[in-house]
């Protein structure tokens, strides 16, 4: 529909368009309306040279100058041979198509034709209207008919007072330029501008609702007289230019249609572009504008995809220098988030160290017990804060049993080895010393855990943005996950060793290390929406430890010595730390096997705060 149509084609289309428009404007769907409209349009078309400007808007579309709303194009001769007709001659020769205009460039549609489409009460309504409008309304109806037919009418007499200039098809002064390059406006427009030279013009330009960008500057106007007819070749092109962004963004002709309607383009306006309705106009615009993907990603307005970055490595080898940069996409950018991320994870370790220091320095049982209790509570609160804010935040509330098992595992790391040891020796007789070094090491390891999780999140998000497919993403995330986990493990072992050296205790690398690994993996899985496996793993490890303790005590019952044998043999071979080490390491290994496929899925890395 963009090509230059043949003569006959133009004529036909003008007529059908006229009848269509008449239908829509009059709101009827019946056949009488359509025939009337068609004949009216035909009539006008045949008498264009003289009366193109004198008709009312209700008539044919092809030359409906008065009807030109400002945002659309002013009438002009079609360029190209196909569209040449008598009206074009008129435009060329006279500049203004016809003198004088009807007082109302208005549609005072006749009641007979203006029935809303398809209402069931159409008949009764028209009867009602005719009943009401008889007599007094006849004058209006007559005027409207006369205007449509282009003949003289009483209505025309009022014309010259309001529009003396022979500028019937003038667009309003505040109209956007159909084609921004200045010298391409119809000559007829000049008359309108002469009439519209008002003091308020500047303010009108400045204060039009759709912004000054689309509006022409007043200074351009005199110049525009010159090349009057140029740019008239393709009115749709001007429209496309005006709505370029809409057209480029659109994924669908209907989207353009919706956008055009939101900008006030009606079917009647579309008829001026020789289209049946807004939909077909939108289809042409959609077909004519290159879309995203064809023209080099004009429409990729989505997440800031760094996909075209040349260094994106499909196998996920981290590029140097991009590790910690950028605020990430979890909605917590900038200062406060960074400070919380850096400082908050240090809090449990610091509190734990302070509590241990207090325990060491304080004298007297009461004070030490108080310090111990306060220290435990403070560290617990700090750990809770770390888990609630930041990258380890769980998507769903973890269940009570999971939390209880985690507390049990930590409590065992603090007290369990000593209890097991004394129990095997026949105790416990009174209190046994807690193992403070693993506690301190684990509290200090909260910080690397949070940072590693953060690293994983940021890098995974980045991979997510650059990946084209799910497999590619999984391949990129798997080594990342393993690398992060190894990093954390190294940090944890170093911290455990340091804490042991500091406190003068034997460092429980195996027990506390495997416990730390287990807890990190569990938390990572929970943070990515997989709470099932961690719950099972924690429960299993806790149950094993509990059973080990119970079996030792049960072995004291008469005849049940055999129950304590496995634990005894393990402890005598490898020491009391072997029990939690075995339990936690097995659970951690199982969890790692589960975590690698689970966390390498894209659905596990949906950024929170994304589309809901």
């Amino acid at each position: 529909m963009t090509g230059t149509p043949a003569d006959q084609g133009v004529d036909t289309r003008a007529r059908t368009g006229a009848s269509t428009e008449n239908n829509t404007s009059a709101g009827t769907g019946n056949s009488t309306g359509s025939t009337t409209g068609s004949s009216a349009g035909h009539h006008t078309a045949s008498s264009t040279g003289s009366s193109a400007g004198t008709r009312k808007g209700t008539g044919g579309q092809g030359m409906a100058p008065q009807h030109d709303s400002g945002q659309l194009d002013a009438p002009r001769a079609p360029a190209g041979t196909g569209g040449w007709d008598a009206r074009s001659e008129g435009l060329l020769n006279g500049g203004a198509p016809a003198p004088g205009r009807i007082p109302s460039a208005v549609d005072e549609a006749e009641p007979e034709q203006s029935r809303p489409e398809g209402t069931e009460s159409a008949e009764t309504e028209s009867a009602e209207e005719e009943g009401v409008l008889t007599g007094s309304a006849v004058a209006d109806v007559e005027a409207a008919f006369a205007a449509v037919m282009g003949t003289g009418s009483p209505a025309r007499t009022a014309a010259p007072s309001s529009a003396p200039a022979p500028s019937a098809p003038a667009p309003p002064p505040s109209s956007p330029a159909p084609v921004p390059p200045a010298p391409s406006a119809p000559a007829a427009e000049a008359g309108a501008e002469a009439a519209a030279e008002e003091p308020a013009e500047a303010s009108a330009v400045a204060s039009t609702p759709s912004g000054g960008a689309e509006r022409e500057a007043p200074a351009d106007r005199p110049v525009r007289r010159a090349g009057a007819r140029r740019g008239a070749a393709d009115p749709v092109k001007a429209l496309i230019h005006r709505h370029r962004e809409l057209c480029e963004r659109a994924v669908d002709p209907l989207e353009i249609a919706a956008g055009l309607e939101a900008h006030g383009v009606t079917d009647r306006a579309a008829a001026r572009f020789r289209h049946r309705d807004v939909f077909s106009l939108a289809e042409e615009m959609y077909a004519r504008v290159p879309h995203h993907g064809e023209g080099g990603g004009a429409g990729s307005a989505g997440p800031p995809s760094q996909g075209e970055r040349p260094g994106a490595d499909p196998h996920g080898t981290p590029l140097p220098g991009e590790a910690g940069t950028g605020p990430g996409r979890d909605g917590r950018p900038g200062g406060r988030g960074t400070a919380a991320l850096l400082l908050l994870p240090l809090l449990p370790g610091a509190l734990c160290a302070a509590a241990l220091l207090a325990l060491r320095t304080l004298e007297g049982g009461q004070a030490r017990v108080t310090a111990g209790v306060v220290g435990v509570v403070a560290v617990a609160l700090a750990v809770r804060a770390c888990l609630r804010h930041g990258p380890l935040r769980g998507r769903e509330r973890s269940s009570t049993s999971t939390r209880a098992w985690a507390c049990w595992l930590l409590g065992y790391a603090l007290l369990g080895d000593g209890l097991l040891d004394t129990a095997l020796r026949g105790g416990p007789d009174g209190l046994w010393p807690p193992r403070l070094a693993p506690a301190l090491g684990l509290a200090l390891a909260v910080a690397p855990a949070v940072w590693c999780a953060r690293l994983l999140t940021v890098r995974a998000q980045r991979k997510l943005a650059t990946s084209r497919g799910l497999e590619e993403f999984a391949g990129a995330v798997r080594p990342l996950l393993l690398g992060t986990f190894t990093l954390f493990l190294c940090a944890l072992l170093a911290l455990l060793g340091g804490a042991g050296a500091l406190l003068g205790e034997e460092a429980a690398y195996a027990g506390a290390g495997s416990l730390g690994a287990l807890l990190l993996l569990a938390r990572l899985l929970m943070a990515h929406g997989r709470p099932g496996a961690p719950a099972v793993a924690l429960a299993c490890a806790g149950t094993v430890e509990l059973l080990a303790l119970c079996s030792v005590f049960a072995g004291r019952l008469p005849g049940c010595t055999v129950l304590a044998l496995p634990v005894e043999s393990v402890v005598t071979s490898w020491g009391p730390g072997a029990v939690p080490a075995l339990a936690c390491a097995t659970a951690a290994a199982a969890l790692l096997i589960r975590a690698v496929p689970a966390l390498s899925r894209a659905s596990a890395h949906v950024p929170p705060g994304g589309p809901r």
């Binding site: 809303p116 409008l133 529009a163 209907l254 919706a258 006030g264 309705d277 995809s305 769903e396 929170p608």
Partner: protein, 634 residues
């Protein structure tokens, strides 16, 4: 996607018995005055204070007191739910709500067979969505119903729709040959976003509204035990296509309940406009648009009748695949009573007879133009002010009153300030004499202020009502002006031409000169004004009253119920099926909404022409009796 825990308690379905069980009116099946049980389906609509179209639904429910209404409402945002409900009329027997905005991970873990079913159906669905062709509607529909059946059999789909399997199916569909070009470019974040949005759009599938246990309701034996779900209604009335109509689609699929779709604004169009405001990437928007287009097409295809609110909506519906034979335009109804006094008094009668008892009527100044509406950019007041400047050149005595509140938002407030500044610039203050205090010919008022205590006073303040919008849906203020019997000048946007008919002047939008000329023409011609005003009032009273709206829906309900009876098995007190409870005549073969000629043409070749039972020849009696028994037993 946000998977954070929400405070919304899972499975929160409100069930509101509005009366005690023994006090409930039992349904009366009158002859000739059928009581219809209507399931009203809304999305972000009726019972909520901030809902769209709540006034219309409320009037409908109150106006059709002889019918029973069950309300099934989907809420759109948490905020909407917090704001509460409007007072509900007693005709509304049951209200069920469900949130669309929160994702309750219901934790339903499907077994292997259920997962396989899910993968198959979801794969079909996304294939139909991703493929650009138009020929896959039936695949879309069958996949949708397959998912719904799965949800009904196995529990919620929320987890499954967000699973990796869903994303994988989506990826496969996007990469398949023949998929949309935009879909080919989808990256992993786009896939995830689409999967999340599809999950959201398909949430109505997981609701527990699709029950048919209503045997006790009808005979009252087990009344209150469970009022059943959508399986028990005679008719589903969806107030928009899209998410609201999805439960209706499923009710039609599961129970054969006919679906009526009413749209005052096209849901699909709103989707497009909303999507252009968001920062979604092109593939996401393309896939989402394809999904909504397919869903809307399916809704239009399955609906028994579609009632667009205006011809504009009707055009969109036809464009989206609605069958013309199913479309019945029903204009929204508006309260006309408050405008009656003004409308009947005419423009000058109050001034002529000041001693009449109804002296509260405002006096219309014959030189005043009035604009009434909500002040925002799309109303194009700037153009109106420029037009008024032209009017003043012709009619120096003319005044313009802009009456209306500012729309919420900073933009609208800035626009008002801009308009005020422009008015002050264009029109200096004027005084009657040397010693009088001047005032501006353009005044800005709000309804409720001292000058304009009520809305009707706003219309009564002037002789001509002007509408200068560049974008308009259904022009409420124009209809109100018509009720008031005022001559109007409006721009040709939205449904204006359809509403005004021939009873007012219409000019192109953004054309201040044309607007000015029309205004001048009316200001100079009181007789014409009166003529047009009277015609406008008559037209509005004929077409846009609440009564006509309710009457139209009443007849549409009865029409649908008579043509699409829901075939339920009727039980007696012991729970045994009751034979002959459903007479065979209730079944009408063929599509009745088609024109008569087409229907007979369709029906003629296959079926026996209708013959009264006494006219059946002897050898046919056995066959007919067999058919009747079969109908009863079903």
């Amino acid at each position: 996607m946000d998977n954070r825990p929400s405070d919304h308690p899972p499975g929160r379905i409100r069930f509101i018995p509005l009366r005690a069980v023994d006090q409930r009116r039992l349904p009366i099946w009158e002859i000739g005055g059928v009581r219809v049980r209507i399931g009203l389906l809304t999305e972000g609509g009726y019972p909520y204070v901030s809902g769209d179209g709540r006034l219309w639904c409320d009037r409908l429910v109150r106006g059709l007191a002889q019918h029973e209404f069950d309300l099934y409402a989907l809420s759109r945002t948490a905020r909407q739910e917090e704001q509460g409900w409007v007072p509900l009329p007693p005709q509304l027997h049951r209200v069920r709500t469900a949130p669309l905005w929160t994702a309750e991970g219901d934790g339903t873990a499907h077994g292997r067979r259920a997962r396989r079913r899910f993968n198959a159906h979801y794969g079909e669905l996304v294939t139909a969505v991703c493929s650009g062709g138009e020929d896959l509607e039936d695949r879309f529909g069958s996949a949708l119903y397959g998912l719904a059946e799965l949800a009904r059999d196995e529990g919620g789909l929320v987890t499954a729709l967000r699973s990796e399997a869903a994303v994988r199916a989506l990826e496969a569909a996007c990469r398949a040959p023949g998929a949309l070009r935009a879909a080919h470019e989808a990256r992993v974040p786009d896939l995830l976003a689409v999967a999340g949005l599809l999950e959201r759009a398909l949430r109505p599938l997981s609701l527990d509204w699709y029950e048919a246990d209503c045997g006790g309701v009808r005979d009252g034996a087990r009344a209150g035990a469970g009022w059943g779900g959508l399986g028990c209604v005679d008719l589903c009335h969806a107030t928009s296509a899209g998410a609201a109509a999805l439960p209706g689609l499923l009710a039609k699929h599961f129970f054969g309940v006919p679906l009526l779709v009413t749209e005052h604004s096209v849901q699909l169009r709103s989707h497009y406009l909303a999507a252009s405001g968001e920062t979604l990437s092109a593939p996401v928007r393309a896939l989402l648009a394809a999904f909504h287009g397919k869903l809307t097409g399916e809704v239009y295809r399955q609906a028994a009748l579609i009632t667009p609110g205006s011809a504009h909506v009707r055009r969109w519906q036809e464009r989206c695949g609605a069958d013309r034979a199913k479309l019945r335009t029903v204009h929204p109804g508006m309260e006309a009573a408050s405008f009656a006094a003004l409308g009947e008094s005419g423009e000058n009668s109050t001034a002529a007879t000041p001693d009449r008892t109804d002296s509260a009527l405002p006096v219309a100044d014959p030189d005043t133009l009035v604009w009434v509406g909500r002040i925002e950019q799309s109303k194009d007041l700037v153009s109106l002010l420029h037009a008024f400047a032209e009017v003043r050149k012709e009619e120096p005595a003319a005044r313009l009153r802009l009456i209306g509140a500012v729309a919420p938002g900073d933009e609208a407030a800035a626009y008002l300030a801009q308009c005020k500044a422009l008015a002050a610039q264009l029109f200096p203050d004027e005084a009657d004499g040397k010693h009088a205090v001047g005032e501006n010919p353009v005044s800005f008022d709000e309804v409720g202020g001292p000058d304009v205590p009520e809305l009707v006073d706003a219309y009564g303040a002037g002789a001509v009502v002007v509408l200068s919008s560049v974008v308009e849906g259904f022009p409420v203020s124009l209809v109100e002006a018509m009720f008031c019997g005022r001559a109007t000048v409006s721009t040709d946007v939205g449904a204006v031409v359809e509403v005004i008919g021939g009873t007012g002047l219409v000019v192109p939008p953004r054309n201040p000169r044309a607007l000015a000329e029309a205004c001048v023409a009316l200001l100079r011609d009181p007789a014409r004004r009166e003529r047009l005003g009277a015609a406008a009032r008559a037209r509005a009273l004929e077409l846009f009253t609440v009564e006509q709206n309710i009457e139209a829906f009443h007849s549409i309900y009865l029409e649908i119920v008579s043509h699409y009876p829901v075939r339920r098995e009727v039980m007696d007190d012991e729970g045994d099926p009751l034979p002959f409870a459903n007479p065979v005549e209730t079944h009408v073969p063929g599509h009745w909404a088609l024109s008569g000629a087409a229907e007979t043409a369709d029906a003629a070749p296959g079926t026996v022409p209708p013959v009264p039972s006494w006219a059946v020849r002897d050898e046919d009696v056995d066959a007919v009796l067999g058919a009747v028994a079969g109908e009863g037993a079903r």
